[in-house]
């Protein structure tokens, strides 16, 4: 018997809560994250992107199963794509917020323009825009999955129209995630 999505969610939240509680009680979290407000916002942006990545990656696998007509867990796909759309919105919101620190005088943008202009002009510019492409892809796909439901399974071309935007959204996410990690490694806020 397959475990239900509710069980999976409960186990995941429980595990996060236990690890979080242990970490908060015993680890010097402040030293790990940093001391100023922007470092906390940056941490939430990165955490949001990572949770989004996990949800989107499972969504892509399920979307592939839908595409080839072998999906059994249709409900899981609907919920995971919706969850990914929400995480996309959350990550973009934190990303827009942290962008204030990126652009601030003496911030990473100033550093890149002075020392590595190509990093700002090509990689960061592309990252900031391509990250926005994830939300329309996941939300459009979520809408299609909820509205048309399991009737999609019988229609080969409609299956493609529902599942390929998930793959596109995931591809945009990978690009934004990798570039974001690389840029942060070169110069954080």
């Amino acid at each position: 018997m397959e475990p239900s999505l509710a069980t999976l969610l409960l186990v995941t939240l429980g595990a996060i809560a236990i690890v979080g509680l242990l970490a908060a009680a015993t680890a010097p979290v402040g030293l790990l994250v940093g001391s100023n407000q922007w470092q906390y916002i940056s941490a939430f942006h990165g955490l949001g992107a990572t949770v989004f990545m996990i949800g989107a990656t499972i969504s892509v696998y399920l979307a592939w199963r839908l595409y080839v007509g072998e999906l059994r867990a249709f409900k899981d796909l609907k919920w995971l794509v919706s969850f990914s759309a929400i995480m996309s919105a959350v990550t973009i919101s934190f990303g827009t917020w942290i962008y204030i620190a990126y652009r601030a005088p003496g911030g990473p943008r100033t550093y890149f323009i002075e020392n590595l202009p190509a990093v700002h002009q090509v990689f960061f510019e592309f990252k900031e825009f391509i990250a926005l492409f994830t939300l329309p892809m996941f939300l459009a796909s979520a809408f299609i999955l909820w509205r048309y439901g399991e009737t999609l399974v019988q229609h080969r071309e409609a299956r493609a129209a529902a599942s390929i935007p998930v793959l596109l959204g995931w591809s945009y996410l990978i690009v934004a995630y990798v570039l974001g990690a690389a840029i942060t490694k070169l110069r954080g806020v």
């Binding site: 827009t96 962008y99 204030i100 652009r103 601030a104 002009q121 090509v122 510019e125 592309f126 900031e128 825009f129 391509i130 926005l132 492409f133 329309p136 892809m137 939300l139 459009a140 809408f143 299609i144 509205r147 048309y148 439901g149 009737t151 999609l152 019988q154 229609h155 071309e157 409609a158 493609a160 129209a161 529902a162 390929i164 935007p165 596109l168 945009y172």
Partner: protein, 125 residues
């Protein structure tokens, strides 16, 4: 007329809960938002005044206006397209191909060497 003819046959075969028009309203509204972002980005590279106009928040800079215009174009076009298309059966293969082509263009327009090249042509022309 050609589309109507093809879709009436497809409607019987498809077995979808709703006509395919609603599906394309969602996809094309997403594309309209993204192509708006791409075009606004090129325009802001060409025109400094427009770039200033897009600066809705001094900390975020012109990116604030670009994001807002993406959302406005997306969420205004979606209900309009939905109302227009929801009862229509569109050829999924054809129109999904058009959507994918559109996404390729929107993505290419976001690549800085491409949009800067286009902006340079506008500035010099």
């Amino acid at each position: 007329m050609d589309v109507e003819h093809r879709t009436s046959a497809k409607q019987v075969v498809s077995g979808l809960k709703f006509p395919t028009g609603g599906l394309f309203a969602a996809l094309f509204a997403a594309w309209i938002g993204l192509i708006t972002l791409a075009l606004v980005n090129v325009a802001s590279d060409v025109d400094a005044g427009f770039r200033t106009w897009l600066t809705l928040h001094s900390g975020i800079g012109p990116y604030s206006g670009k994001e807002l215009l993406l959302l406005v174009a997306w969420f205004l076009s979606w209900p309009v397209l939905h109302v227009v298309l929801r009862r229509r059966e569109l050829d999924v293969k054809l129109w999904f191909g058009v959507f994918l082509g559109g996404m390729l263009i929107a993505t290419a327009l976001m690549w800085p060497p491409v949009f800067e090249w286009i902006a340079d042509r506008f500035r010099s022309g």
